[in-house]
Symmetry: C2
Subunit: 320 residues, 2 copies
């Protein structure tokens, strides 16, 4: 399959899907049946050695989050970097569980490890801090980054039952299949760990994040906050405390004029505390699958822009 | 003067100030008295030819906005680019009056023309769109970008007089010396033109922006909006309309849950409408002179990062 546009040409050389019973297809090389996805990634990199050597091989990783250890995504990322491929992932696991280790692997291999889709879909949280804020030290952050709990809290303010609101989010494909990832705060904790690792130089996992989720028992708090002109939100926080980084996820009652208080449904936001610019907030007014897909595309473009094209494609790229 | 840090070493080779009676100092070359600032810029570039040729000369422009024609800033920028210098400016004029022309000059000269400080101080509005949103088409924007009018509108909601609130902002050094630049919407119109030119590919000036300012007569509208649970804000807008770009500045009554409605005092925000990411808002929670200074620094770092150092400084830079 060939795709052109955005100043690059892309060719898919292999796909591994769990749904397809671990049967993998490497285009141009026939079908294969590697023992594991990691073995398949190694094989695909080895078979396309010229592209790997030229920095023109990219693994795009979209497995779902495993909250125990961030696997198998972490292993996939390591296999790809070791094989000479860049990595783009929408999975929070790698940055939440093994950010500094994977960044060191990527630096050694002169390859990129990008994951813009891990937090707030394609809204450029990591890109912003990496590319657009030179010389700014981020000293802390707080945000609302989980849509399911955000929706449920608003529904409970209005008297709806916890279970009904959750079931609706599952039916709409927004909640995780395993509801505990959302309501127990694990998804938010994984995003918090990723943010703390990247923005604050922490080296933590989601299990180091202090974590309070929401449940039916949270309903009275949500109603009470609203009655007092406030809003109850599941807030994530990270901050430096001396040489340590403290991170937590918990319902907080926010003043009505807080930029986080006004987020409804799938609106997310992140407030960065900085040394030179005071606070900057970035607000996502709509999220979903298209935005996650964009995140993968934007990371791919970031890689393509920094990669010299293969000789043959240079000639073709110039055609009008 | 030498400055080191942020991965670069900087040396000031000349300063031109209006306050100092047009007496210019070029370090290492004694004093000079060029006929005009533009002539001085040309002279400074010619005297430091090696740095100019190596792309290591930068002019930092901080004159105040002239709303008639964007001068003398536009002339300064052209003189610097013609002399081989990069340009960093906090002045809105060049991007508001001559963006596409100056970008073409910069491209021809292989030099950068950067102006992050022109809108929302150092909050990376232009950097965000340029570096962090690859493949996203910005289709429109709206925002609150003038602190003085924002403060006055809130004060009038609370029953204070227009003149008192304006005088306070002037005393605090936040309002422009010429109050009409703020209250007649000229500052906002210049920012709107710059945003439209950069984000929407327009080729307009502040005089093409439909413009309604605020005055004592706006007070009842502000009070009325607040009584209805809404907020009156001076909103800037830009959008594509077929092949044209329409841009305007006007007081608007905003619903209370609008991200722009909640901005107080020196808080500014910009909402970008995009094709792939729906709406993204970037909110500045505190602004001032330090933030404008940061904008100049961030642009300087952007240039330094892309510039190979002179041979002598390469050796020095490696010392621990």
């Amino acid at each position: 399959m060939l795709a052109a546009g955005y100043g690059m040409r892309a060719r898919i050389v292999g796909i591994a899907t769990r749904r397809d019973g671990a049967r993998y297809v490497v285009r141009g090389f026939g079908r294969t049946r590697a023992g594991s996805t990691a073995a398949f990634i190694r094989e695909a990199c080895a078979r396309d050695r010229a592209a790997a050597r030229g920095g023109r091989l990219v693994m795009i990783e979209t497995t779902t989050l495993d909250i125990e250890r961030g696997e198998p995504a972490v292993t996939h990322v390591r296999a790809a970097l070791a094989g000479g491929a860049h990595v783009v992932t929408a999975n929070k696991g790698p940055a939440a569980f093994a950010y500094s280790r994977l960044m060191r692997s990527a630096a050694r291999a002169h390859r990129r490890f990008l994951f813009e889709g891990a937090v707030m879909d394609g809204v450029p949280v990591f890109n912003l801090a990496r590319e657009a804020l030179p010389a700014v030290d981020v000293t802390g952050f707080r945000g609302v980054v989980n849509s399911t709990t955000n929706y449920i809290l608003t529904a409970m303010e209005q008297g709806r039952a916890f279970g009904d609101a959750l079931a609706e989010m599952q039916a709409r494909g927004i909640a995780e299949a395993d509801a505990s990832l959302d309501v127990d705060g694990w998804d938010a904790a994984a995003k918090t760990a990723a943010l703390a690792n990247v923005l604050l130089g922490a080296d933590i996992t989601p299990h180091d994040v202090e974590r309070v989720g929401i449940s039916e028992a949270t309903a009275p708090l949500a109603v009470e906050a609203r009655a007092a002109g406030r809003r109850l939100k599941l807030v994530v926080r990270g901050a430096r405390n001396g040489r340590r980084v403290v991170a937590r996820v918990a319902p907080e009652s926010l003043a009505d004029d807080d930029v986080l208080a006004r987020l409804e449904g799938q609106q997310n936001a992140l407030v960065l505390q900085t040394d030179l610019l005071e606070e900057i907030a970035i607000v996502q007014r709509g999220g979903g699958l298209a935005q996650t897909a964009y995140a993968l595309l934007s990371d791919l473009i970031t890689i393509a822009r920094a990669t010299p094209p293969a000789r043959r494609s240079t000639r073709r790229r110039r055609s009008p």
